[in-house]
Each structure stands twice: as C-alpha cells, then as structure tokens.
Amino acid sequence: MFIYYLQIAMKSLLKTKVTSALMVIAIACGIGISMTALTLNHMTDNNPIAHKNDQLFSLQLMTVDRAVDGWYADGRYPYQLTYQDATNIVRDNPKMTLAAMYKSGFAVRNETQTSKPFLKAARLTTRHFFTMFDMPFLYGSTWSEKADQDGANVVVISEEMNIKIFGGGDNTNKQIYLDNTLFTVVGITKSWNPAPKFYDVNNGPFQDIEQFFVPIALSPIMEIGSWGNNNGWKDEIVNNHQDKLQSEVMWLQFWAQLDSTEEKEAFEQYLAGYISEQKKLGRFNRDDAGAKLSNVQQWLDLNNVVGDDSNVLVGVSFMFLAVCLVNTIGLLLAKFLRSAPEVGVRRALGASKGQVFMQHLIEVGLLGFIGGLLGLVMANIGLYLLRSQFNGFNVVATMDMTMLFAAPIIAILATTIAGLYPAWRVCTTLPSVHLKTQ
C-alpha cells in the first residue's frame, strides 16, 4: 500500500512540476541554511570528552582581592590560576590525578642540529595529563613521578612530530633539541585533536592541540615563558620569570580527576583548608573568596565556547525555516484544493477519509525527503564555503553522522507537520460537492 501511495504521490508531484519545484526549493533553502547554522553550533557545542564529563573538573580560585574595572565583581571567578596556587595544590596531593598546565613553545631541531629549526607550541604539565584526557600512546608513556617533582629534560611528542622529525617508527629514548636544550623522547602519542580544545579554552577554543609536552617542573629551571593569556590585577612588580612564579598573575589552567562524590568532597575540603591557610599568609582577602570546580560541560558553558552569534544564527535560521514551511503549506493547500474534484471522485468510489489523508501525507513526506536531500547538499556547500573563507573552521564546519541523519529527518518531520493542515482540508471535502459540478 505504501509503495502504491508513493507511486501516486510521485505522479501527482510530476503533474504540477512548477509548484512542486517551488516547494522543494523552499524546503531545501530552509533546511540548507538552518542545517549550516546548526552544524556550526553543534560542532562548537561538542563535548569531546563527554564520557569523562563527571570525572574531570576545572578549578578556579578567587585570588583577586578587588574587582578590577568590573572584572571579578559579583562572584565571577578568574578563569586561570597563579603558578604558586597551581603548583602548591599539586604538591600537597601527590596521590591525586591532577594537572597544572600552561601553553608555551620551543624552537625544535633534531639531535644533530642539521635540520632547520621550526617553532612549535608546547604544553608544560604534569605526568597525569595523558591519562586524564585519555590521550592514547603509540610508543612509550608519560614521564616519571620524579620528573614531575624535580624536572627532567624529557618530552612526549605527537605522532605528527614523530614523522616530521624522525620519519616515523618507535623513537623513544632518542633525543631532540628544544631551544638549546637536549630532551629525551619518552613517549609518542597517537594523533589527537579534540574540538573544542576543552582543557584550555582560554587561549582559543579552536586552536590546534600542542604537539610537545614537557614537565611543568621545568618552568622555574629553564624559565619557560607563557604563550597564552596572562592576567594580572595586582599592582606588583613582575620583571622576570622568577617574579612571575611568585606573583598573583594568573596564567595556568588546572584540572583534577575526581572519580567519586567522596573524592570530590575530600578535594573541596582540602581546597577550603588551603584557602584559609593562604589567608593567614595575607592572600585570598575577599569575604567571598573560595574555590570552584566545574565539570567539562559546565566549563565549556561558563567560557561561552559556542558564542552568542552562533546561537542567534541558529534561532534566525530556524525562523527562516518556519517561513519556508509556511510558504510550503500555502502552496500545498493551493495544490491539494485544486485536486479536490479528483479526491471527490475517489471518495465517492469508496476511499475512506483516512486513506485520502494518508495518501496526501505521503506525498508531503516525499516532498520533504527530496527537499531535505537537496537541503543537505546546500548545507554542505555552505559549510564548504565557511571552511574556505574562514580560518579555524576546519574541524568545526564538517557534518558528523548525527547532523547527516538529522537533516532529512528534520525535513520530513517539518514538512509532514506542515502538510497536516492541507491534507486534512482536502480529505474533509464532501464528495457530493464536486460530483455535482462535474
């Protein structure tokens, strides 16, 4: 029956080619544009580590003693930590899975210094970074606990850099120059590129992931400066790297893996103790000073990774889709009512209301399906244009499977809903009215 109705629907659509084409174009435009906007939104709204969403927490501390030009007023916590807080907390909790980190970079050369040096971003962090964020290793592993405590010239590099420097293969225990220091490669990670870069949204949520990782304990030893945001609020003198390590400048990201509620509560308790201890030392002078833990999704929301523009575009494009559908309803109504005499004959010959209704809805669904497919093509052209015209949209502006299936389904659903009224109108026409005029 369904196949038969589909055949009639096809025939009916072909009979009124111009109207059908107009309807398909209207649906395709609506779907194309709203899918483009939705894909952008969906991909930026992505939580790349959703499976550990409730285990990973980003830490914020209210170290700022006074609101600065409106910043840090009304309970808005700074996004980053000072070096002293980040390293103190790691040192106080040796058994916990914690990662203090910041972005930097090096001039990289091979061991013989024969290659032309190239500049690459690096991340200084603790050994737990890789397990916390499920970063897979191809060869080797993270560095030792001792390297975390005392610093050591060891580096974890990415698969891409392994190929670029060594041409591939297991190259653990080989050495490379970072700036003018020899580092031993202890691990090589598999290609990994989460978008957004959830662990450091502060320095550009869609920037590439770093491809060199070294122990953060090297920071005071090698005086490795930050390539990211540095936010100071205090009128203090920061003339060199050592000053900065002791200062109230906020420039580190901090993550904790807390596997259970008890663990989280214990950590929160520790933080409360840490803050009161620091208060005695003259820091954390605000009445509302405290610590705040956000899970990954809360962290992405807090940092407004999706952005207002993106939300507005989705809203406007769905209003646009609504106009396209209203337009389609109008055209459908016109088309169906024109075929009313024909329906009258069918009704007189014994077709039930339900059958006529189904028949028309299937026709509408077919229209939606064709419009949806065309819309999908248009959305992909739209996304292609975005990728070619705008920087940093490579990862974002691609459709994943969810979106690929969503488009035709949204199209069919939307047009079917739109077609309910015209289909109902046509099946309620009295057969007698049309039979008379024939």
Binding site: A26, C29, A107, L313, N327, L333, N391
Partner: protein
C-alpha cells in the same frame, strides 16, 4: 477603486491561505528588519577608521633560541637592514601589532597614589623612536620620541620617562585639558614614577577591535630583551609581497640561530579579527536574500491560486461591465490588505525578536528606520508579486460566466 468590503468577505471565505500569507509576511518582517539591523551595525563596525595604513604594513616574528644572541642588538640590526631595502618606508620592533587580536594591556592612572586616582585601561605599545612612523602615525600635539628617549632593557627594570598617548586615552584621563606635560603612573604606589606625556596621536586602533579600549593606546620608548620579538615593516604597497618573500632569507642571513615566522600582513590580521562579524553578516545576508525571494514566491503562488479559484466570479464581473483595471486593482488591493495585516502582526514580532537579541548581545535597540524600510519593501514585493497573477486574471473571458465549470 475601493472594493474593500467584497474583498474582505472573499478573504474571510478563504481564511486558510490568507492567514498563511499573513504569518509569512509577519515573520519575514521580523527577520529581515532585525537581520538588516545587525548586518548594518557589524558593517559599520568593520568600516570604522583604523587610523593605520593597513595595506602597507606587515609583521614577522623572530624567535631567538640561542642565549648567545643579544635580541636587542640583533633586532635593531635587523630593522636597520630592512629600512635599507627598496620600497621600505620604515621598520622597527614592536611588542604588539595593532588589529592582531593579541598584545599587552595595562591600567595607567593620573596620580601617583592608587587611592583616588582615575585608572584607564589601555593597549601598551613598546618600541623605539621608529615605532610611530612605522605604524603610520604622526604626532598631532607635542613631539615624537627621539633616540635619546629610548630605554634598552636587558633583564633590568626601569620605567620610561616619556609617553605618547592617543587622544582617546588623553580624553579618558584628562577630559578636555591639554595632555601634553601631564604625567601618568603605573604599578604600585610606592614604586610608581611619573611618566610625562610628550605627544598625542590623533587616533589609532589597537589590538582588540571588539574591546571598548580599542582607541585607547599608549606608546612607551622601551625595548625589552625577549627571546621572541616582532618586527614590523611599513612599505609601499606594491613592494609588500616581494619584501615579505625575501624576509626569512634576509633575517637568517643576519643571524641564523633563530626561527623566523611567516610574515603576516596587517590587512590579513584585520580580516581575521573581524572573522566572526563577517560570518554573521554573510549568513544573515544569504538568509535575507533567500527569504525575500521565497516570500515573493509565496505571495505570487497564493494570488495565482486565488485567481484560478475565482475564474468564474471574475468572468461574471467582467460580463457585468467591470474593466480590466478594476480586476487588477481588486487583486492588488487584496494583496495590500493582506500585507497590512501581516505588517501589524510583524511589527509586534519584530520588537519581540529585538528584545531577545538585545538580551543576547546587550546592544542597542533596533533603529526604526530598518523596520520602516522593511515595511515599504514588503508592500512593494506583495504588490509586484500580486500584479502578474492579476494581469493574467484580466485575460479571463466574460463568456466564462455562462459556462458551468
């Protein structure tokens, strides 16, 4: 001419398709007036005067990884060599490049004591006495830096004695008073030393084009020794590409123990800074264009439908002596009435949408011009879309009245 009553009764008998067109017009009005408002606001922002010779500037980063190289000596040698290149107008090292989206910002104040001082947040540019000319700036009051003003700091700390500010910063700190000879301060009360304002630059945008401090900038005659330094070159536009191409070789020829980055033109940095605004305007423009097209089609479609349904009625009227003009004006009036109702509902919808957008963006409310223009546009479109089916209706023969179907 005025056949409103019969038109209304005809419309009432055809509520379905009429209300659909009304909804469509209302939505179109709301979307188009708000979208064009956002578009024009963003375009106005992108077209603001930067105060910079954007097309003549590029920058290149030099990263020194060898401690034996003195970055200050090297970079001044680099700049001197670059200034000798044909086509180059000026070159120097600067801590940040305007319109680039990254750089330094400090608070400066008008008194030594933090208590009671007026604090202004500002983009901070440090460089030597070639900085202003390289950025295409001329001092509108006071004087430019000279070589004696410049401090070269190698791991030592010293605040400059002189500063040049943009007029926006001067105005923020000293209102309408003349800023020349006044002092600004930065850092803790006990160590803040007076920095004399020796010059004012009329206007220059800084690094963060979306920030409200974009016009507030200060120049300090200080060159710090960093391992990563930025060279800025201003050259004749025609020579820009070839100079950028030679850059890496020239710099590596002077000192090879460094990494020379990709030259980046200021035009490109500017484009990148406004990327999300361009994305927004482009998408909204597409939506507006397609929307107008679709609405026009919708109005035309329903008019055609109406004409077809009323063939007999039209024929009868013609037989009773209605002129072709009467028929056309009948359908045009009907379309205008529908548009009018749509516009009334649409106006309410427009303000609802605008209130929502204001909450999202915390921007100004919709200027009424956009609403009015969109209204006029919609009336025009509805008239044009109705005209063609109406014209077709005049071809209906009066004889049709005598037929049964």
């Amino acid at each position: 001419m005025f056949q409103i009553m019969p038109i209304l009764s005809a419309m009432m008998r055809n509520k379905g398709s009429v209300s659909l067109i009304i909804i469509q017009i209302a939505l179109t009005l709301a979307i188009v007036s708000n979208a064009t408002f956002i578009i024009s606001e963003r375009i106005a922002m992108m077209q603001r005067d930067t105060g910079l010779p954007v097309e003549e500037i590029f920058s290149v980063n030099s990263f020194f990884f060898d401690d034996r190289v003195d970055p200050i000596d090297q970079i001044s040698l680099d700049a001197r060599r670059l200034r000798e290149m044909p086509g180059v107008i000026s070159a120097t090292s600067i801590n940040q490049v305007p319109l680039s989206g990254s750089g330094d910002s400090w608070g400066v104040r008008d008194k030594r004591e933090i208590e009671g001082a007026k604090v202004a947040y500002t983009g901070v540019y440090t460089g030597d006495h070639h900085t202003l000319s390289t950025l295409g700036q001329t001092v509108s009051q006071g004087r430019d830096f000279n070589a004696d003003d410049v401090l070269h700091l190698r791991n030592e700390v010293q605040m400059p004695k002189a500063a040049i500010v943009t007029s926006a910063l001067a105005k923020e700190l000293f209102a309408d008073e003349n800023a020349i000879g006044k002092y600004i301060y930065t850092g803790p009360t006990d160590t803040a030393e007076p920095i004399e304002i020796i010059g004012v630059v009329a206007q220059m945008q800084g690094s963060w084009v979306h920030s409200d401090i974009v016009e507030k900038n200060v120049f300090f005659p200080v060159v710090n020794s960093w391992n990563s330094m930025t060279l800025v070159v201003r050259a004749e536009q025609s020579a820009l590409d070839s100079i950028a191409l030679e850059m890496e070789d020239v710099l590596l020829g002077l000192e090879k123990n460094r990494v020379v980055g990709e030259p980046r033109t200021m035009a490109k940095m500017k484009k990148r800074s406004y990327q999300r605004d361009r994305l927004m305007t482009n998408m909204l423009l597409v939506i507006v264009a397609v929307l107008i097209f679709i609405t026009a089609l919708g109005i035309a479609g329903v008019s055609i439908f109406n004409v077809n349904r009323r063939r007999k009625q039209i024929g009868t009227r013609r037989a009773l002596g209605a002129s072709k003009g009467d028929i056309v004006s009948y359908f045009m009036t009907e379309s205008a009435l529908i548009a009018a109702v749509g516009i009334v509902i649409g106006t309410l919808l427009t303000f609802t949408l605008n209130t929502f957008l204001m909450k999202q963006f915390s921007t100004t409310s919709l200027s009424l011009d956009y609403l009015l223009f969109t209204m006029v546009g919609i009336v025009l479109i509805s008239q044009i879309s109705a005209f063609w089916p109406a014209k077709k209706a005049t071809h209906i023969s009066p004889a049709i009245a005598t037929r049964s179907a």
